[in-house]
Symmetry: C2
Subunit: 498 residues, 2 copies
Amino acid sequence: MSAYKELYRRFDRHYLLRSSADLLEWDAQSMMPDGGGDLRAAQLGTLRLLAHEAVSAADMASLLADAEAAPPEDAWERANLAAMRRAWVHAAAVPADLVEARARATSSCELAWRAARRDDDFASLLPQLTEVVSLTRRVGEAKAAASGLSVYDALADEYEPGAREASLTPLFARLERELPPLVDAIVEAQARAPQAPDLVGPFAIDRQAALGRHLAERMGFDFTRGRLDVSVHPFCGGAAEDVRMTTRYDERDFLSSVLGVVHETGHALYELGLPRAWTRQPVGSVPGMGLHESQSLLMEMQAARTPEFLGWLTDAATEHLGLAPGALTRASLARHALHVARSLVRVEADEATYPLHILVRFTLERALLSGDLAVKDLPGAFRDTMARVVGIRPETDRDGCLQDVHWPTGAFGYFPSYTIGAIAAAQLFAAAVAAHPTIPSELAKGELTTLRAYAREHVHQHGARYDTNEILRRATGRGLDVDALLRHLRRRYLTDPA
Amino acid sequence: MSAYKELYRRFDRHYLLRSSADLLEWDAQSMMPDGGGDLRAAQLGTLRLLAHEAVSAADMASLLADAEAAPPEDAWERANLAAMRRAWVHAAAVPADLVEARARATSSCELAWRAARRDDDFASLLPQLTEVVSLTRRVGEAKAAASGLSVYDALADEYEPGAREASLTPLFARLERELPPLVDAIVEAQARAPQAPDLVGPFAIDRQAALGRHLAERMGFDFTRGRLDVSVHPFCGGAAEDVRMTTRYDERDFLSSVLGVVHETGHALYELGLPRAWTRQPVGSVPGMGLHESQSLLMEMQAARTPEFLGWLTDAATEHLGLAPGALTRASLARHALHVARSLVRVEADEATYPLHILVRFTLERALLSGDLAVKDLPGAFRDTMARVVGIRPETDRDGCLQDVHWPTGAFGYFPSYTIGAIAAAQLFAAAVAAHPTIPSELAKGELTTLRAYAREHVHQHGARYDTNEILRRATGRGLDVDALLRHLRRRYLTDPA
């Protein structure tokens, strides 16, 4: 067997184990009874360890060298080989016992986090979170030693290949400088605008679910290749062949569940659009989590919040929710969907303040990893940084450092992906509309076909054949470009108020 | 590390991989969209293979020998060591590539079977089923060579340790001799009895589901350690720490869904009652599938179909299904629950004809494995044997050889467990009532506490510390005793007609 073929076989096994673990995680979030937590943590620890072993055996270095010495002729296979090396660098750097220890620690820390968040009790989480930070730091150090990167860059590189603190820092500095005055201007403009009536519920959960399903279907989600369920924290998991989306429902607020479905469906369409022939190989995956996020935001923020789509959604929601004709207006929907305010909770934040929430976390997670910030001091530091950067101070840890699942699950270096995604989404939507000027009028009819086709052609079908910057460059003429996001915000909120 | 400790570690991993696969199988039956089938088959193939490898490495023989040379002092640990050897004999006999090939073949054959059954199209299943029979025969031959048993016994021993064709054959011969005249007498008696009105639906699915959940809770099912969902073929899966039961609903027939829940809850209580300290080790499992089935039948057939429980169920169903008072009578319920007739479909068969359905399969699966019956000739042979043994001839393959999932999934040698379970359930119920004469009056109040406590004490808590015969002997004074089933049937249907 050629070295490449043998590598192909190992990465196939790696994928099968990883996707099995992903399914078990979906189950843990959406189906599993509480009593299953201990077993699930142990199962995930074992599966993640075996997945790791599948691509970090002692002979992997020589297999990669042999394959690279006689590279495959096919361009996809060559790109796959490069993606294999990337994955191997991340996997092989970390000793197996550390991988397993961290998997067990994060799994049990996540359970502790659920209770701590519910009870607003950071102290109860402190031991587990301290352990997770410590193990994650060790992972980062191992990867740093293998790659020559800093600890933070080495960790972030797993989620966002090529992302570096050195380029993220000025990007966020720019946002920190430009967003607060922009937010002030938007808040002021919205205060001056006539106030449309608020959305008045209750909106029956089963009708919201039917509307969400209808939207997902209109967007092209294939229910023979995925599901839509309920979880406390909505996400898109599973595998490209069997995508598991979740949402959550609130009787008083149908818009957040509906736009949540649009968001997760954006993720799902990316998965479903990945090159089928390569699904189980590294090149068949995505080049980074930022581009993944760009696909959800392309749909949820860029498309679904246009005046055109909100107009269509007003009628669709009226029909599916069984509202009296005229009870729901586009102005009310827009007021809700486009309201900008300094608020406490990241996942509920508007797109103008969202990057500031990310900056808080980008700042603090580096301090936690470096040891400049002790885990026990996180609650206070989180409040202070929120006050300074977002301009609002949480009164509780539930609304502060306990609000996100990322750190308890060891995902340090992930947060910048959200802002990379927001920027990329602004770039891609502008480019799509420039290439296909009919998109706005389609959105007015609830049609997303052309936009989806654009995303599939320019993003999805490439898998990880190119990196995020190269995909953006090919699609929009520029790499990641923070101007596109600022331009989008100014246009939507200051020159085109809803 | 001592040899025993190392074995313990390996069987722990084996359990974590196997239970992960079991969860993926539950998902495939109850949640997975059709498009996930290919991936799921590959995932299960990999997980089953790795589970197999965890306990069949080359050094396992010497680890077992070393551990047995210095056996643990604790009786549970010694029993665990014996159970390890049993598991190892089954695992090590089969080469890894054959394990993986069979897992993939059965997974894809099951999908093909679903379609073939729906379309009544045996020809479409023939290639896959032929492959499964061939691979299963090879597995049986490998196990036969390692154990000195016949191919059939070597396969059946995996589900029913100690079960042998030589003892099953006379047992079934006795049933073949005694059941047909007994069935004739019951059918005649029921024809003479006054006819209670039939159950008239429709019965709303959500109300049936609420009733099923109520029953499971009354029986002591712990919903923090398990779930109840819907699947085409009801089963009890998951793990002892996180039991996944399923049922199915029919608007015209609430009784089958309700008694289905009682059946699966019987299985689930066994799982939940296994010794917690040993859940992930071989001795913490069950000694055989027959005893597992006995626990479902103890509840569904022995307890829930007593006149006492049916009386309580009449009131509970009236309340939960929102029926008019008096619309449902115990006589109607009993007519439905205790109706005996020669019928086509095993899973819908009554307890008097059920062993004959099993005999059909016990006969044909041995012929398929030996090659005396070609897979292509199965449809005709199934019809002929049904006509001869059960006394009714299927007109379609859907009602014939396509009705069961067992053979497509490679479960040859499993069917006798159903009859072993029916016999054991009759023994255990008689012994429980003899020890606790209050049980019938408790059943009249819908109480199952004493019966569950009896089952827990005499069956569940032992795990696999003793074999099925020894557990029955300790509980009832006799090993497996076919007389108990015949006695039960005569008493219920001929001297105590409902």
